[in-house]
Amino acid sequence: MIVKDSAMKRKWGMAIDLDKCTGCGACSIACNQENNMPIFEDDSDVPKRVAFLELMKVTNDRDAKFPDVKTAFLPKMCQQCEGNAVGKHKADPPCVSVCPAVATDVGDDGVVSQIWSRCIGCRYCQTACPYEARVFNWWKPEYEGSFKNSLSTDVSVASRGTIVKCTFCSHIWKRERDKATANGILDINAVLYTPACASACPTGAIIFGDLNDPESEVSKLAKSDRAVRLVNTVDDETPEKQKALMSKKQYANPKVYYLTSQKWLRDMMRFKKNS
C-alpha cells in the first residue's frame, strides 16, 4: 500500500479557451449524458431548464454595429467560486454560506458540492449565485421509456424540488480514485481526472486540472494574460486596489478561467464597455 500524505493537495480548476471554441456543443451533450439530465418533450422553457452546462451565445452587438460584429460561444458551468477572506469571515463561495440546511459545501479540493437529498428547495443558493449556475428541478425529472437505459449509476437522479449543479464531475474523480484504491494506492492526491465536458471538447478548448500544482497546464493558463474571469470585476484592478477592495468585500473569485485574446470578448465579459 502506498500512502504518502492524506492531506488534500488538489484544487481543481478549469481554463476554457474561447478562441478555440467552435460552439459545436459536444460539451453540452457530454455533460447532459454524464450527469443524467432529465429529458423533457419540450425543453424550450430555458428559464426553467435543468442543465449544468449552458452553451451561451455571446455577440458584441452591445458595442458594435454590422459588419464590425463578432460571435462567440461561451460554455458556462458552475464557476466553483472561491470567494476571499474578509476580516474574520473566511473565504467561501456566495452560495455555500447561505444554505439553511448545509446541503451545499465547498470541499477541500475546491469543488462546490451539492447533496441533492439534503436540499429543501428554498433556492436561496440560486439567488446568491451570480452565474445562474444552479438549477432547480421545477418539475419531476423524467426519463421517458428506454431513455432510462442510458442513465449512469454514478450520479443519482434528483427529486423534484431540489437544486442540482455542476460538480466538475467529481464522481469521475471518485471513480478514478476507486480504481487506484483497488490497485493499492490510497493517496487521495494520487490520481487526476477529466470532467465530461473537458474530455468531450474536440478542439481541446477546455483544460482541467490542479490549480495548486504550478506545473499543471491549467495553472499556467490561469496566470496567462489571456485569462479573464467572467464578470469578476476585481480582476481588472491594480494589485493594490484589488487588495483594498478584497479587504472590504468578498468577490466570487471563480476557479473557471476563460482565455481569449479577443478584446471584444473580454469587453463583453464585463458590464461596462472598455473596462
Binding site: G23, E41, S44, L151, R160
Partner: protein, 643 residues
C-alpha cells in the same frame, strides 16, 4: 412484595408510554419516517447497477467514420467518449440507440399515407413484398421508375446506389451535400488541402460549424490557429466562423457570388490573371462587362477599395484558397457561385483546391439533382435511405404528393417527415449496434433492427436483376467501398450558367413587394434539422433561437426600428412562394441590414414528439429556382416581406 394495584399499573403504563414516545422522538425515528415519506412520495428512478467496462465502436453510417469509446454499465451503454472528435450525427448516437420512439421492427402502413399508422410485420414479409414489387416493375420494363434518395455517401449509400442502378434505374440521388453539389457544378468535388494553405477566403462557408467534415475541420481549425493562417469570412450573418475569422467582411444577403465576380473581375483585368478552365474567355468577358467593381460594390455593400484590397491580399498569399458552399449542414446549390469561387482558386493557381471523385458515387442521374427530380421527375417506387427530402427540400410539399402515389420504402430508425409517407419502414441499427471490420457491436441490437447494409444486401438478393450485383455480406461490402479518384477538368459551363450570372443583378435589385431578404442560419447541434429529435440537443438550444415555445428570427436593430419591430415582437414572413406562421423578433446587429436570419432545422411535422411542432421550417417559403448544373434549388436567400 407490594401488590401492584390498578393505579400503579396505570402509572407504570403511562410512564412507559411517555418514556417510549420520548425515546422514539429522541432516537430520530420520526425524522427517518419523514425521510421515508419524502422518498416514498416522490419515488425516483434508480438506474440499474452493473459492471463498468469500455467497448469501442466505429461508425460506418456517417461520412467521417467516427471512432468512439462506449462506457457500459452492465449491458447498458451510458456514455460515448472520443479523443478524436465526433460528428454531429454520432454525437447523438446514444440518444438514438435508446430513443423511446425508435422503430425496432419492420413496419407496414396500416392507414392513410402521412397518418403515421403502422403495424409491425416480419422481415420476411416486408422484404418479400418489396422485392416482388421491384421485380414486377423491372419485368414490366419500368425499372427507371424506381428511385432512391440517399442521406449521404457512406457505405450503405454506396450499396443503395449500386442496388438501384443494377436494377436498371438511373434515378439515384443524394440529399444535397457539399460534395454532391460541387461535383455537379465543377465536375468533381473540391478536395481542400487546408493544412497547406495560408489564406482562406470563405464565401459564407461555415467552416468551423459543421461545414464539410465537421471533425476534420475542427482539427484544421487548430492548425490554422497554430500556423497563423489568415481567414476571411464574407457573409451576411456573423456566425461563429465570422467570429473566429481574422476579418469578417459583411456583405448584403445573397451577394457571395457577386463578390466573387467582382474579385475575379479585378484579378483578371488589373492583375492579368487567367484560369485554365474551359470557356474562361466567354465567362470572363461576361463578368467584365456585367459586373464592374462599382456595381459589385453597390450590390454587395463592400466598398470598391475593400474588394481590391481583399483580392490583392488573396493573390499575394503563398497558397490561398477560396471556399464556396454556404452553410454548415444545409447547402444550397448555385453553380454560378460555386464556379465563380472556384475560378478564384484557378486564377491564383491555388494548390489547396483540387477536384476529385468517389469511384462508387457518381452524382449523375436522370435529372441533374434531387430538387429537379422532385419537381419534374416521376417515380412509382422510392427508397429513402435514411434521408428526409420532404423536410429538407424546398419542394417538400410537391414530394409529399408524389410519395402518396408511389410505393415507398424508408430505411429509418426514427419516423421523419418523409418516412411517414412510406409503405414500409425498415429499421436500421444505430452505429453502436453495428459491426464493422474494426469493431464488434458495442450493444446488442434493439429487437429486430438490422444493419442498413444488410437490409440492402438481402433486398438485392431477392430481386432477380440484382442477385449477383452486390457483395454477399456486409463484410464484403467494405472491400468494394468507394475510393477517391481524380476529378474531371474544370469547366465554366458558360452556356448553362450564363443566364444565372446575368440574373443576379435583377435578383438583388430593389423589390418593392418583397423589400427584405430572408437568409438561414444554423444553431449548434440542430444543424439543418437532424438533431431535433434528441432531447439533449433541445436542452442546448440558445434562448435567442427557441424560448418558451417561441421561435425567434434575428433582425438588424436599425432594420427592426425602420420596419416597426422591437425585441420580442411577433413577425410574419411571406415570400412569393407562401407565408410562414408566427415567429418572434430578436434584434441583433450580427445580421446585415434589411435582412432577416431564420434558424434552420425547425418545424418538423413527423420527427418524433421531441422534434415535432417546434418553430418553423423556412424552406417552405424559400425560393425554389433549380440550378441547371446541380439540379438543387438555390434557396439560401429569399426576398420576403415582413409584417
Amino acid at each position: 412484595m407490594k401488590k401492584i394495584d390498578r393505579k400503579d399499573f396505570l402509572k407504570i403504563g403511562g410512564g412507559a408510554v411517555v418514556g417510549g414516545l420520548a425515546g422514539y422522538t429522541l432516537s430520530g425515528a420520526p425524522f427517518l419516517g419523514f425521510q421515508w415519506l419524502v422518498e416514498w412520495s416522490q419515488d425516483q428512478y434508480v438506474p440499474a447497477p452493473g459492471i463498468e467496462k469500455y467497448v469501442q465502436a466505429v461508425s460506418d453510417s456517417c461520412t467521417n467514420g467516427c471512432k468512439v469509446s462506449v462506457r457500459m454499465i452492465g449491458n447498458r451503454a451510458v456514455k460515448i467518449e472520443s479523443k478524436d472528435g465526433v460528428c454531429p450525427a454520432c454525437l447523438n448516437g446514444l440518444q438514438l440507440l435508446y430513443h423511446p420512439e425508435r422503430i425496432s421492427t419492420p413496419m407496414k402502413i396500416s392507414g392513410k399515407k402521412g397518418s403515421g399508422n403502422y403495424q409491425p410485420v416480419s422481415w420476411d414479409q416486408a422484404l418479400k413484398d418489396i422485392s416482388s414489387k421491384m421485380n414486377a416493375l423491372v419485368n414490366e420494363g419500368k425499372a427507371n421508375t424506381i428511385a432512391a434518395v440517399n442521406k449521404n455517401e457512406s457505405l450503405n449509400g454506396q450499396l443503395m446506389e449500386k442496388f438501384v442502378r443494377n436494377a436498371g434505374s438511373n434515378n439515384v440521388y443524394y440529399e444535397p451535400s457539399l460534395n454532391s453539389i460541387t461535383s455537379n457544378a465543377l465536375g468533381g468535388y473540391v478536395k481542400y488541402d487546408f493544412a497547406k494553405t495560408d489564406f482562406i477566403l470563405s464565401f459564407g462557408a461555415k467552416l468551423v460549424e459543421g461545414w464539410g467534415n465537421a471533425v476534420e475541420m475542427q482539427k484544421q481549425f487548430l492548425n490554422w490557429k497554430k500556423n497563423n493562417v489568415k481567414i476571411v469570412q464574407a457573409d451576411s450573418v456573423c456566425t461563429r466562423t465570422g467570429g473566429i475569422a481574422n476579418e469578417f467582411v459583411g456583405i448584403n444577403p445573397g451577394t457571395e457570388a457577386v463578390l466573387a465576380f467582382g474579385m475575379a473581375n479585378y484579378l483578371i483585368t488589373a492583375k492579368r490573371m487567367t484560369s485554365s478552365g474551359d470557356d474562361f474567355a466567354k465567362w470572363s468577358q461576361l463578368i467584365i462587362n456585367k459586373y464592374p467593381l462599382g456595381k459589385v460594390a453597390k450590390l454587395t455593400g463592400v466598398a470598391e477599395d475593400k474588394i481590391k484590397k481583399l483580392a490583392d491580399d488573396f493573390a499575394a498569399a503563398k497558397n490561398p484558397v477560396a471556399v464556396a458552399g454556404k452553410g454548415a449542414h444545409g447547402v444550397s446549390g448555385s453553380s454560378a457561385e460555386i464556379i465563380a469561387v472556384y475560378c478564384l482558386n484557378t486564377l491564383v493557381k491555388s494548390g489547396a483546391a483540387t477536384l476529385v471523385k468517389n469511384s462508387a458515387v457518381s452524382y449523375t442521374a436522370e435529372f441533374a439533382g434531387l430538387d429537379k427530380f422532385i419537381k419534374e421527375g416521376s417515380f412509382s417506387m422510392m427508397f429513402l435511405n435514411g434521408s428526409d427530402p420532404v423536410y429538407k427540400s424546398v419542394y417538400g410539399e410537391e414530394l409529399k404528393k408524389k410519395l402518396e402515389k408511389a410505393f415507398v420504402v424508408a430505411i429509418a430508425p426514427l419516423m421523419n417527415d418523409s418516412a411517414v409517407y412510406a409503405d414500409y419502414i425498415l429499421p436500421p441499427l444505430s452505429f453502436l449496434e453495428a459491426e464493422t471490420p474494426e469493431s464488434k457491436p458495442a450493444v446488442k441490437a434493439l429487437k429486430e433492427s438490422k444493419d442498413a447494409k444488410e437490409i440492402i444486401i438481402s433486398l438485392a438478393a431477392m430481386v432477380d436483376k440484382t442477385k449477383n450485383a452486390l457483395p454477399k455480406t456486409s463484410a464484403d461490402a467494405y472491400k468494394s467501398a468507394g475510393r477517391e479518384t481524380a476529378g474531371g477538368k474544370f469547366s465554366f459551363n458558360f452556356e448553362k450558367i450564363k443566364a444565372d450570372i446575368e440574373a443576379y443583378e435583377k435578383k438583388l435589385g430593389q423589390n418593392a413587394e418583397y423589400p427584405v431578404t430572408l437568409v438561414p442560419y444554423e444553431a449548434p447541434l440542430v444543424g439543418d434539422g437532424d438533431g431535433l429529435a434528441f432531447p439533449y440537443v433541445l436542452k442546448s438550444i440558445d434562448p435567442s433561437v427557441l424560448n418558451l415555445g417561441k421561435f425567434y428570427v434575428m433582425m438588424n436593430k436599425e432594420t427592426g426600428k425602420k420596419h416597426g419591430f422591437s425585441e420580442g415582437s411577433s413577425i410574419k414572413i411571406s415570400s412569393a412562394r407562401g407565408k410562414l406562421g408566427k415567429a418572434y423578433v430578436h434584434l441583433s446587429d450580427v445580421v446585415a441590414p434589411e435582412t432577416v436570419a431564420i434558424p434552420l432545422g425547425f418545424g418538423h411535422e413527423s420527427y418524433t414528439k421531441y422534434g415535432n411542432e417546434k418553430g418553423l421550417n423556412p424552406k417552405k417559403i424559400m425560393t425554389a429556382d433549380v440550378d441547371p448544373l446541380t439540379g438543387a434549388a438555390d434557396w439560401w436567400s429569399t426576398r420576403v416581406k415582413i409584417s
